[in-house]
């Protein structure tokens, strides 16, 4: 029976043997359940940890690197910024509204348990094509869920990206990013130290959320009948509870009343207590009876592995307990003393204080003993793009335009009066301001980016190009990139090709971050993203944070000004169409066809610095990086943003659509000054033409009425969802 149990819980026979070896005896069902969640792919990163070590994580301004709830950097002026991005893909495929909502709740908890007040959210979403009803259902549900939770909890959603591809049809991607701010002195780490200190569970009651298909456990016995009512319980988010929890926790941290704080996410209480105990080098006793529960008759295993939302664990000295309770009462959040820190180095679960020991494992084993796999890899054979056909560029352009405002108009993106550049541009720009923060003239710029098309052609180069694009996006806001977090969404790691894609993508991120001097301060890995048995395309999503030292005016953003000059700064001349959206969707090129255009990271660094500088110095009236859709889409997006046309000259049709990196379109009243700055920086630059008029014209190749482009842009997503 026990052997069947470990397999039912997702452990391999080898892992089960390893657990028994650690304990020096066979694990009982509760211990097996605890190990099964801690050693799951989601919690242990067993397939990816080996490779993640190759990411550069250090820089003088990094205060907390990967491994904690969120990464933290020193933004200057005594202010620290925490950020993290996480996936909630599989729950969203089952129940899109609640899956996305609880994803938002989870990432917010990661940030405020570091001591930071969450001030911004972003999301990176992938769905199947919207001509399928199921994709429309998932898309609408996810956006409503992010809006419903994010708006109600009171954190503005300031940007993000959405795209559609057949590989995500049954397996949507929902990656949610959160950023928070705090005085440097308030950084909190999850540590259980000090024998005799108390573990207090704060927040919502524990129920059977997230426990699914574990009917053997739920029946609490051997040979018991499976209970029909114990179907997987979808986690339901309560943003009102979370809002009160944010305020209570930040007040506890401000008052110095807690020793450590840990968010409860995947694997619930088990994960929280084992991580805090392991990091503190201590042990912990946990009393199941003391956990405030909302369902009758929950077993110890259910209580220990429940993924009920809106809960955190705080470590408190006995002397501070009354004060902690008073803070929790004022904010109307429940607090229960569920355990105590011991000096034994062992994590024990008891049914009640002083009661029967139900589980007894070395605290370090659950965390440090996690399996580490070096799974086999096999490189995919390169695919040639093949011949492409250039047809009517105007028709192609109109088909590639899509306004995401249908999405972001559902998000409160203005709360806190910090949002200087709202969603729809290259990067969100936020004033660095919050109650209790030292005054500052600084601002933050953040962009989330991903391009599975590039990564499917060449995962290493594609991931590097993704990082490069994200850095250029924040530079377009006038910011200097300083840190990156990533969410690596891949298929089944037991498939050698997927493992190669993952390992290569990590190398690509490392290549770009190393060359651009940007530390990776956190990340998340989501594996087993499979749609009808097919792995999704490799989809590493990155979020880059940039700093603006002194925000003096609103950044120019994506737009054109009538009569101003249009320049292309950056790489010139690479016309490779591999990995480009146009080639596959419009030009008849082979899916995954390459090669990709080349990325020169040294040049890219100079382009990033140049663009950030000319924007910050006020030389620019409008700016947009060239990415998906190439130069044609970049120019068109600038045109529709301001209802101003353009007339430019390029070398040929391929130049309209290539997604060669390190390029930005600059609209300026002073082209000579921009050209001089580019020459000084060693960055190629050339004049494209001029903004103005009511047509989008590329001589000899494209001539579209601005109104028609705007209609195509604005109507694409509403028409697709049937709005």
């Amino acid at each position: 029976m026990v052997e069947t149990l470990h397999r039912a819980l997702g452990l391999t026979d080898a892992e089960a043997d390893a657990i028994d070896a650690v304990l020096g005896r066979p694990a009982n069902p509760l211990e097996t359940a605890m190990f099964s969640v801690m050693w799951s792919e989601h919690c242990s990163y067993k397939s990816s940890r080996l490779h993640l070590r190759r990411l550069p994580t250090e820089a003088p301004w990094v205060l907390v690197g990967p491994g904690e709830g969120a990464g933290v950097i020193d933004a200057g002026d005594g202010i620290a910024v925490a950020m993290r991005i996480e996936s909630h893909n599989h729950p969203s495929a089952v129940e899109p509204y609640q899956g996305a909502a609880t994803g938002v709740g989870g990432i917010i908890r990661d940030v405020f348990t570091m001591g930071a007040r969450p001030i911004a959210l972003m999301d990176s979403l992938r769905f199947g094509p919207l001509d399928e009803a199921r994709s429309r259902w998932l898309f609408e549900g996810v956006v409503h869920g992010i809006a419903g939770y994010g708006n109600a909890v009171g954190v503005p959603t300031v940007g993000g990206e959405t795209s559609f591809d057949a590989c995500y049809a049954g397996n949507p991607l929902v990656n949610v990013f959160c950023l928070g701010v705090m005085p440097v002195s308030r950084i909190a780490l999850a540590r259980a130290s000090g024998t005799g200190n108390l573990a207090v569970l704060v927040g919502a009651s524990t129920g059977r959320d997230g426990i699914g298909g574990v009917s053997v456990l739920a029946s609490a016995g051997f040979g018991a009948e499976a209970d029909d009512t114990k179907r997987p319980s979808v986690q339901v988010g309560d943003p009102f509870e979370e809002k009160r929890l944010i305020e209570a926790c930040l007040e506890l941290l401000d008052s110095g009343l807690v020793v450590g704080v840990q968010d409860l996410g995947g694997a619930g209480i088990t994960c929280a207590v084992s991580e805090t105990a392991a990091k503190g080098g201590a042990g912990m006793d946990v009393w199941v009876s003391e956990v405030h529960q909302r369902e009758p008759g929950m077993t110890a295993a259910e209580v220990m592995t429940s993924e009920s939302q809106e809960r955190v664990l705080v470590i408190v000295t006995p002397a501070d307990l009354d004060a902690v309770r008073a803070v929790c009462e004022r904010w109307e959040v429940r607090a229960s003393v569920i355990g105590a820190v011991t000096g034994t180095g062992r994590l024990r679960v008891l049914d009640a204080p002083g009661g029967t020991v139900l589980a007894d494992v070395p605290a370090a084993a659950l965390e440090d003993g996690k399996p580490l796999y070096d799974r086999p890899q096999r490189a995919a054979a390169p695919v040639e793009l093949g011949p492409v056909v250039f047809d009517d560029a105007g028709t192609d352009l109109l088909a590639l335009l899509a306004d995401p405002s249908w999405v972001y108009r559902q998000y409160d993106h203005q709360l806190f009066l910090n949002t200087v550049t709202p969603p729809g541009g290259d990067a969100a720009v936020l004033r660095l301001k919050a109650p209790g923060l030292p005054p500052s003239r600084r601002a933050l710029a953040v962009s989330t980016d991903g391009n599975a098309r590039w990564c499917a052609v060449d995962p290493r180069a594609g991931a590097a190009m993704t990082v490069a694009e994200s850095c250029l996006n924040v530079a377009c806001a006038g910011a200097r990139p300083v840190a990156l977090v990533n969410c690596l969404n891949f298929g089944n790691p037991e498939h050698p090709r997927v493992m190669w894609e993952l390992s290569s993508a990590i190398d690509g991120i490392a290549d770009a971050c190393g060359a651009l001097g940007i530390p990776v301060i956190g990340g998340n890995v989501s594996l087993y993203n499979e749609s009808a048995g097919d792995d999704i395309d490799p989809t590493p999503i990155v979020a880059v944070l940039g700093l603006i030292d002194a925000l003096e005016r609103r950044p120019p953003g994506v737009g054109l000004v009538d009569g101003a000059a249009l320049l292309l700064v950056g790489g010139q001349g690479d016309l490779a169409l591999g990995g480009s959206r146009w080639a596959v969707e419009r030009g008849g090129g082979a899916r995954r066809g390459g090669p990709l255009p080349a990325l020169d990271l040294a040049l890219h660094a100079r382009v990033v610095e140049l663009v950030a500088g000319i924007v910050a110095d006020g030389l620019v009236l409008g700016v947009h990086d060239v990415a998906e859709g190439g130069l044609a889409v970049a120019l068109a997006e600038m045109a529709v943003a301001s209802s101003v046309g353009f007339r430019v000259v390029v070398g040929g049709a391929a130049e309209l659509w290539t997604e060669a990196p390190s390029r930005a379109v600059v609209c300026t009243a002073d082209p000579a000054a921009v050209e001089a700055r580019a020459r000084e920086a060693g960055v190629p630059v050339r004049v494209l033409g001029r903004a103005g008029g009511d047509r989008l014209v590329v001589d000899g190749l494209l001539d579209v009425e601005a109104g028609e482009a705007e209609a195509a842009f604005r109507g694409a997503i509403p028409a697709a969802v049937g709005a």
Partner: protein, 225 residues
Amino acid sequence: MTHVGVVVYPGTNCEHDVAEALESVGATCELVWHTRTGLGGCDAVVLPGGFAHGDYLRPGAIARFSPVTAAVAAFARDGGPVLGICNGFQVLTEAGLLPGALQKNRGLAFLCTTVDVRVETTRSALTGEAACGQVLRIPINHFEGNYTCGVETLAELRDGDRIVLRYTDNPNGSVDDIAGICNEAGNVVGLMPHPERASDALLGSVDGLVLLRSFVGAKQLARSG
């Protein structure tokens, strides 16, 4: 100097924004937690936006029973200026301090965008320094902003010059394009748009400042009236 009490229910989230904006037009502010039973020391009161009690049951339905709401009602009866913004407007209607109700937007989606509203009267505590016909660009941010009232109520509002702001392009289905209304005396005003979000050029619009200045200056009107 006008001292404004900014009421905070559990789930309210715009209180700091409102205080910042009011301070920029010369008021001083204090945050008033919902369990307070008195508003002593306040010259004016604002119920800001957010999700009081999670908007559970109906927006404002539970907040209406908080101790502070009774104090706000008494303050209003005495002629004090009271401003309800978005969720605050919803609380005022649930509490019976303003007529009508706010329902789900016609498009059944949350809407965060900037709209044009036209000032329809200057006899309210919110519009004393504005001009009739003036068009202001102010953000809206709501799922339940669709103002509804009975036929008789609508006639009373129109006849009594109590429609304060109208949308020029109705975004949510509100009857008669109503964006904001006031009570008979004009000292209690509710509106769905967020004037505090249009109070800084860096963020895109300063059109909310004339409304906030009017409100801060309204204290004098109530006292001398």
